[in-house]
Amino acid sequence: MKPLLWILSIGALGGCLASAVMAFHGMIDDATYKMALLICSVLWFTISSARMYLPARREANPAER
C-alpha cells in the first residue's frame, strides 16, 4: 500500500509542475492552470497524509496484524 501511495503522491506533485508547464506553453489558460494546481495540491496533501499516518494506525490496532 505504502509504495502505491508514494507513487500517487509523486504523481500529484508532478501534476502541480505539469499544470505550470502547460500554462507556460499556452496549452491551458490561467484559470485552468490555477484550478489544476489547486486540485493536484489537495491530492498531494491527502495522499501524503495517508502515507504518513497509515502505518501508525495499523500499529495502534493489534487485531489487524
Binding site: L13, G26, L37, M52
Partner: protein, 458 residues
Amino acid sequence: MSQPELTAEQVAARMDSLYEFDREPVDENHLQSNASFAGLLAGEHVAATEFVIGAFFVLHGVTAADLFGGLIVGNILAVLSWAFLCAPIAVRTRLTLYWYLRRIAGPGVTVVYNIGNAFLFCILAGAMISVSSTALGLAFDIPSPQLSDVYPNSVAWVLLTFAIGMAFTVVAILGFEKVSKFAELCSPWIFLVLIAGALALLPRLGVATDFSNFWEVANQKIWTGHPSPGQERFGFWHIAFFAWFANLAMHVGLSDMALFRYAKNWKTGFYSAFGMFPGHFLAWICSGVMVAAVDREMNPGLMAFTAAGIAGAVAVFVAGWTTANPTLYRVGLALQVVTPNWPRWRITLIAGMATTIVACFPVVFLKLLDYVAIYGLLLMPIGAIVFAEHWIFPRLGIPQFEAERKGQQISWTVLLVWIGTLLFCFALPIHLYFRWLPGYFVALGAYILLRKARVRTA
C-alpha cells in the same frame, strides 16, 4: 504568591536537563546515511523566508548577472563552510554545539547563548507570522503594509496578525511533533508551488516558450539594476555574501553540529548543497520573478496568489506557519529554564504573545535581510571560539576545555571575546553584510592571544 529566586547554578542545571537526551556522543549505530541527509537538508531550506528574500533582491536593484553569479558563489561558499568548518568538528566530537561549548565556556555561557538565540528566534517567528498575514489578508481584503512602513498600517492588519499569531502559538503549545511532521510534508509542495508560480508568470513578463529571450527579459523586467525607491542598490558581493551568511549561525556558527554529528564522515557536509541550490538559488530566483510580475509590490501573499492562485496563497500561509511553529516551540523550551517553575505551555504562550506583538510591526519582515545578517553576526563569534579551541589550541600547546577543567560557571575570556567581537563588528565602517568576515578572524585571533597569554602567566 512569591516565587523562589533561581541561582545561576540552578538555571544551568535546568538547561542541562533540557538537553539531557543528547548529552552523550552519537554512537555508531545511530549514524545516518547520506541520502537521509540530502532529504533532510533539501526540506530544511524551503521556508517562508524564501518568498521574501528573492523578492527583496529585485527591489534592491541587482542585475541578473550579479544575482546569478552572486548566488552561485555565495551558495558554494556556504556549502564549503558546512563541509570544512561544521561537519568535521561535529563528526570528530559527535556532540551538539551546546555540550561542546559547555566544556569550553562553562554552563553560564551556554545559558546566555540559548536565551539570546531564543530572542532572535522570536523575531524570526514574528516575521513569519507577518508573511502569513499577507496571504490571509487577501481573503479579507486587508491591505498589506507598504515597503516603507514601520508601524502597522491599519487596525484590521493588527487584528489579523494578532489572530494568526495566537493561533500559531496555541498550535505550538498543543502539538509540536505533528506540526513538524506536517512541515516535512509541506516542504516539497511549497518548493513546487514556487517553481510552478514563477514558470507560469514568465509568459506574462514576455519570456518565449523556448527561453530564447530569457536573459533579455531577466535584465529588462526582473533584475533590472534599478532599485525601488528607498532601497539601496545591491551588487555581486552583496548577493554573494548574503547567500553565504544566510545560515551563518548554522555553518560558521556551528549550531548544525547537532545535525552533522549523525554523519558517517565529514564529507556529508557537502550534502548541504541539496538544501542550498534548490532553496537558496532556485526558490530565490522564483520569488524574484513573482515580485517582478506584481509591479514590485512587496507582498508575499499577493505575489503567490497572482502566480499560483489559491494554492499559492495557501503555500505562503502554510510556509509561514510551519516556519514559525517549531521556532515558537524552541523559544518556549529555551526560556523555560529561566522562569520559576513555569510549565512550558505558559512560557510558550507568553513568548507567542510577545512574538505576535512583534509581528504586528511590518518592519520585522520588511527588514528581513538586515535581520538575517544581524542574527548570523551575533552568533558567529562562538563558532570562531569553538574552531580555535578544537583545531588550533592542540597545535599551539594551549590546554583545551578550561571551563570544564577548572569547573568554571562562566569563561570570562569567551564572554569578553564574544562581546568585544560584536563591538568591533558594529563599529566597522563597512556594509552590514561584510562585517562578519573580519569579525570572525578578530574573534579567532583575540581568543587565541588571550588564552595564550593566560597560559604564559599561569
